[in-house]
Subunit: 336 residues, 2 copies
DNA sequence: ATTTTTTACTTAATCGTTTGCGACAAAGTA
DNA sequence: TACTTTGTCGCAAACGATTAAGTAAAAAAT
């Protein structure tokens, strides 16, 4: 690989001059800058990122920490959409991405240690057990951090507006004439608490009292458990007229169960999902759901993180709330 | 951050000794090794990966190059499964992952340049236009490369056995009594050519002649185009009794079209997918498909790549072919 | 007892950058 | 003329590690 030294020799100047010229310092004449830039290009020079990082302590690398309970990893359809837009925004700004894990060589170490080892400039944390001590260590560390879908008071966060999302969804269903609304929610997390809280609050404001049997604790992205709980709901004496599922994906389990039960959607019973994954718009019937704006969430997270990194002093704690949008399909029927 | 120097001072030895002790060289006494390791741990020492990389030219970083035509990125359900298992295997061996792109700072450069800049030890290439000059540059470069689902004669590759997969699928469908089999395939690629070729070959061997109108050129992971082409097939004078879709995901478009057309699956017409994504087993009816072993594909790719990196001289070109497995659902009906 | 080998460690160069400081000439100012 | 300013550029240290070569003492061999 051609280094600054090679260019320096060819141009008959010192290494320092080459470095400064390439970095466009003001104490180099335009003429030599031009010469150096030209020969650098000719020789196919590429900066050495380690050498640079070693000296400047800046890597242009962002850490991504993500681990859902089911260990879906990159196959997690919400996370990979968020990550994809995060990645695109980061790359646009010249940053690369490194996944934070607990390995380095044969050794196992903490997330913080791995992040330090790789020298990431900042970290985005998503879809994780935020009470994991290793995560807490990261949150309290000296590394810039942005969290997604969870709020810490000393950290900037980007969250999907699950409160408004659920409110919009319930309100729409109410306006369609439903009064008996059931909700199979996912495992406990900030997201779940917001959704469940908003579900109860909105129902309350609309004058609905929801029996405990209508709110079931399920698992995200698990069609099987959703199917099971759906069956329980269908067996209730007073059957709900509409069921909210944990998410679009798991709704497939619920929908199948309902059909097997001999009920038609939406004629006999209505359903709704959450997420707005691409697939949801191809289900039969087309699913009514809340489309989370994963595009904005990922992009905002990258923007905020990079802003923190590049302007450390001005870093104020920000709370970005990204609204979703209701997608009205054919899965919720107008009641009369 | 605590460095070798700090440990050296504390232990009263030279930096070199500390380095060697930590790396378990044989010319350091057990006693001092023990001392150094202990104080290193006490002081919370972490090696500096750049410094190490600068000296050794080894980063323990693997480049991932991936860009499908539709620019799905990480949301691509086949790729993200492959990548996920690649990542897990890599991490288990102490390697991290870096996405190769064309950015570095404000500049745009080639994949090769980006890879060199980041100093990745090797690269895995998947789901990409392998005729892109920038990809060819990488293939012909000095960097260890493993390709997925495409074979170059000078490079190790891991491919899903699309030939056997399609053969199994067609044979099964034939055994179920079908003689009029249509195939909506995806856009041109190695994968597509293998599948289409195997489709024709298997049909031929089974004594079937497939009219041109039965083989349609569609788009992967696109329910809409698949829906359109499905309708064309349904409108044929001599309608096929079974339709193969490009993949499970796009099959949803086809299935919906068939239902809207007033036909029942599998009673009136049979269908099959390809991929074996999780979802396919929750469709109604459960989809008959080929489950590609993404787990093995990703893992093998990581294994082969790391083997090449860690044993450069012994590197022979390998061709790993990973067989899929037919998943028999209820979407193909026994004909009489 | 002397030489050789082994053990255990140190010295110092090196990887490719960045950057504060100093040097020196040309230009400006008094 | 003498001094200061300005514009260019080089020197050299530093970042944190690795490693070949050297050294001194202890152990083994003669």
């Amino acid at each position: 690989m051609v280094s600054l030294k090679d260019i320096a020799v060819k141009c008959g100047v010192s290494i320092a001059t080459v470095s400064k010229a390439l970095n466009n310092h003001k104490d180099i004449s335009e003429a030599t800058k031009e010469l150096i830039n030209r020969t650098a290009k000719e020789m196919g020079y590429l900066p050495n990122s380690f050498a640079r990082a070693l000296k400047t302590n800046k890597t242009y690398n962002l850490g991504v920490l993500f681990a859902d309970e089911a260990n879906n990893g990159l196959t997690h359809d919400y996370f990979n959409r968020v990550l994809n837009s995060f990645k695109e925004e980061a790359e646009r700004k010249g940053y690369d991405i490194t996944f934070i894990n607990k390995h380095v060589g044969e050794k196992c170490l903490s997330y913080y240690e791995h992040a330090k080892y790789r020298g990431v400039d900042g970290i985005v944390i998503a879809c994780i057990n935020f009470y994991d001590p290793d995560v807490v260590e990261l949150i309290q560390s000296d590394i810039p951090v942005v969290t997604i879908d969870h709020v810490f008071d000393n950290r900037t966060s980007v969250v999907s507006d699950n409160i408004k999302g659920m409110q919009d969804l319930v309100t729409y269903i109410y306006q369609m004439g439903h009064r008996k609304i059931a909700y199979i929610h996912g495992a406990d997390s900030s997201v779940t608490r917001n959704r469940v809280g908003s579900f109860y609050k909105t129902c309350g404001e609309l004058g609905l009292t929801i029996p405990d049997s209508y709110v079931q604790s399920g698992i995200y992205r698990d069609p099987e458990s959703t199917a099971l709980l759906t069956r329980q709901l269908l067996n209730l004496k007073e059957r709900p007229t509409c069921i909210l599922f944990p998410d679009d994906f798991s709704s497939i389990g619920g929908i199948n169960t309902i059909k097997q039960y001999g009920l038609r959607i939406p004629d006999d019973i209505s359903v709704a999902g959450y997420d707005g994954i691409f697939l949801s718009q191809f289900l039969e019937p087309k699913l009514t759901t809340i489309r989370q704006d994963t595009e904005s969430i990922g992009r905002s997270a990258a923007e905020k993180l990079i802003a923190m990194i590049e302007n450390p002093k001005a870093s104020i704690i920000e709370r970005v709330v990204v609204e979703g949008r209701i997608l009205i399909g054919n899965s919720v029927k107008k009641q009369n």
